[in-house]
């Protein structure tokens, strides 16, 4: 018997997806017409002290939206304003956790909210320079955020003496060059120093020794975009949205086997089932839901029963056995071959392991090879134990948390669907139909060689 669920009272408010998206809605003029940069004006012209900005963000209970849900105000509060050091803020726009594309939406559609948040955060911690680290492959999101920065400079919202105050800030938009691990904050700062993106051990924390050994705050795009919202509404009003322990909203990008994939802004405390079956239109092909990857592939998989009666907030997701992570949700339909899916995940981790820590560098390739042979029909009886063994050796022995999750993303699937792995190893074929796509647009399509090209390879 499950305990009766008490539905939280929701405000129904949205902070980001609350206006019509038009060809100009991302521009400075449109953002200002919606009340944009008034929070910044209130702070800079109203004489709000940096400490009071931090206090407001702390009181609002803003949690990091990059995956770890660390309280933003607490992170900022570590910076000591009078230590005589330069302080930096870096916006983490290196969105790369598989299944996650909500920051892309924010960068493309509301880039000025992120920029305003970056300025406010920099003001709060006494920063003179700030950075926007954006993933290398992003094209439109880069042009949109660079455009927003350029517009802000031209309007006196960046550069020297912002809005006539004595506060000055320069912002660099820094494009990565293709690396998953650079989404990890310490790897990101190494990359920002022009080096390969290797994470480093903590302590010291990045807020103590970060970019070029100077105190640095790294915040996700969505986290920063919430800051002007908080300062406009006030912490108390902000907290009326969401749940007491997860105030506000979460941008969720959903993909996989739902009928309406895309980006949604969901108030914390919203029903998970309602979200999947109503908002996202249920599962393709009229199938049932098999399982969910809740917040990027690095979060543990939950089967359909585990989300019954669960609300979309951090505490509820943890109680259900996983995390909301980066808001990158992937729905998987009944009938999907979990062995093949695990292999896709493991190929990814092997590809992206930065090579620094032995357990991850060697283990991820090993796990991929094991899964490869299972999928080829050459699995060995002890391969399941082997996968657990390698994953366990990885857990807690790597510098960054990406290394940890690299193993258990696969073993969490094993925990739930062990019989599929056993069947594949025993029979040399999938227990399901072996397909990953429910509706494959390329099924039955016969490729004819493009003119001038050599004969088709398949």
């Amino acid at each position: 018997m499950t305990a009766p669920v008490t539905e939280p009272v929701l405000s129904g408010r949205k902070f980001f997806m609350n206006h019509e998206v038009t060809p100009t809605s991302h521009t400075l003029a449109d953002y200002q017409a919606r009340g944009g940069y008034q929070a910044l004006a209130k702070v800079l012209k109203g004489g709000v002290a940096p400490a009071d900005v931090i206090k407001e963000v702390s009181t609002a209970g803003l949690l990091g939206h990059g995956g770890a849900a660390f309280p933003a105000g607490r992170k900022w509060g570590v910076i000591r304003p009078d230590d005589g050091e330069p302080h930096y803020v870096c916006m983490n726009a290196d969105e790369g956790e598989p299944g996650t594309f909500k920051d892309r939406w924010l960068l493309e559609q509301v880039p000025h909210m992120a920029v305003e948040g970056l300025i406010l955060a920099s003001y709060a911690i006494g920063g003179r320079h700030a950075f926007i680290y954006i993933r290398g492959e992003f094209d439109l999101p880069f042009h949109r955020i660079q455009g927003a920065v350029d517009e802000a400079y031209a309007a006196g919202l960046l550069g020297k003496n912002i809005l006539g105050s004595d506060y000055s800030l320069d912002v660099v938009v820094y494009r990565g060059a293709g690396s998953y691990v650079c989404g990890e904050a310490s790897a990101m700062l190494a990359s920002l120093e022009g080096k390969k993106g290797w994470p480093r051990n903590r302590p010291p924390r990045l807020t103590v020794k970060g970019l070029y050994q100077k105190p640095t705050v790294v915040n996700n795009v969505e986290t920063l975009a919430n800051v002007p919202v908080i300062l406009s509404l006030g912490a108390e009003e902000f907290r009326k949205t969401g749940t007491p322990k997860s105030p506000g909203t979460q941008m969720i990008s959903i993909s996989g086997h739902v009928n309406r994939p895309g980006v949604y802004e969901v108030e914390y405390g919203y029903s998970w089932e309602k979200f999947i079956y109503e908002d996202c239109g249920g599962i393709q092909g009229g199938r049932g839901l098999k399982c969910i990857i809740p917040g990027g592939v690095s979060t543990k998989i939950l089967d359909a029963d585990q989300i019954k009666g669960v609300t979309l907030d951090h505490n509820a997701a943890v109680a259900a056995g996983s995390q909301l992570g980066s808001g990158g949700m992937i729905a998987i339909a009944e009938g999907t071959c979990m062995v093949r899916l695990a292999r896709v995940i493991q190929r990814f981790y092997h590809h992206e392991s930065c090579g620094q820590c032995t357990p991850c560098r060697e283990g991820m390739g090993w796990m991929e090879r094991v899964l490869d042979r299972i999928v080829r029909g050459e699995g060995r009886p002890d391969d399941i134990d082997r996968l657990y063994h390698i994953s366990n050796a990885n857990d807690g022995t790597t510098i960054c948390s990406l290394g940890d999750s690299a193993g258990y993303a696969c073993t969490a699937i094993l925990d739930h669907y062990r019989e599929e792995f056993e069947y594949f190893i025993k029979n040399g074929r999938s227990m399901m139909d072996g397909q990953l796509a429910v509706e494959d647009p390329f099924a039955g399509a016969v490729p004819t060689p493009l003119r001038g090209m050599a004969g088709a390879a398949v």
Partner: protein, 162 residues
Amino acid sequence: MNAPMQNIQHLIPEFERWKERYPAGFEGSLTIPCLRRIQEERGYIADSDIDELVAYLGVPRTQVDEVLGFYTMFTREPLGRYHLQVCHNVSCSLRGADGLIKYLCGRLGIQPGETTPDGQFTISTAECLASCGTAPMMIVNETYHEDLTPAKVDALLEELAK
């Protein structure tokens, strides 16, 4: 000691402008942006580019070598005129990425990692490109092409092959 700036000389004024928004002492940070800019121009990074960049930025050569080896977007050799990068991560796989890759390979007569003999097309597989809700997808050079179907791929290839 300083290599003569033959290949990147014309880019130096641009690099110098970038420096204005960085704090002092951040020259090393320009390694990645400069390499990106050079590759944008040439299509790949040549040995001489590395020599010149090392001389210009004053960074250790190993740093540039490491960066070139570490990040997937850098290439030391020319690719096809059109670089087709197909995502085959989880969400795209659930929406038909395998079929898309097979279809592209069939149409172009090459395998992932290869370039067509006429130097027009290179196919690569890629990991999550944050386009999961519009899968299957690929990037052609810089541009995202999403919600792909055989008809869309055909139209695109015809256009590019013109």
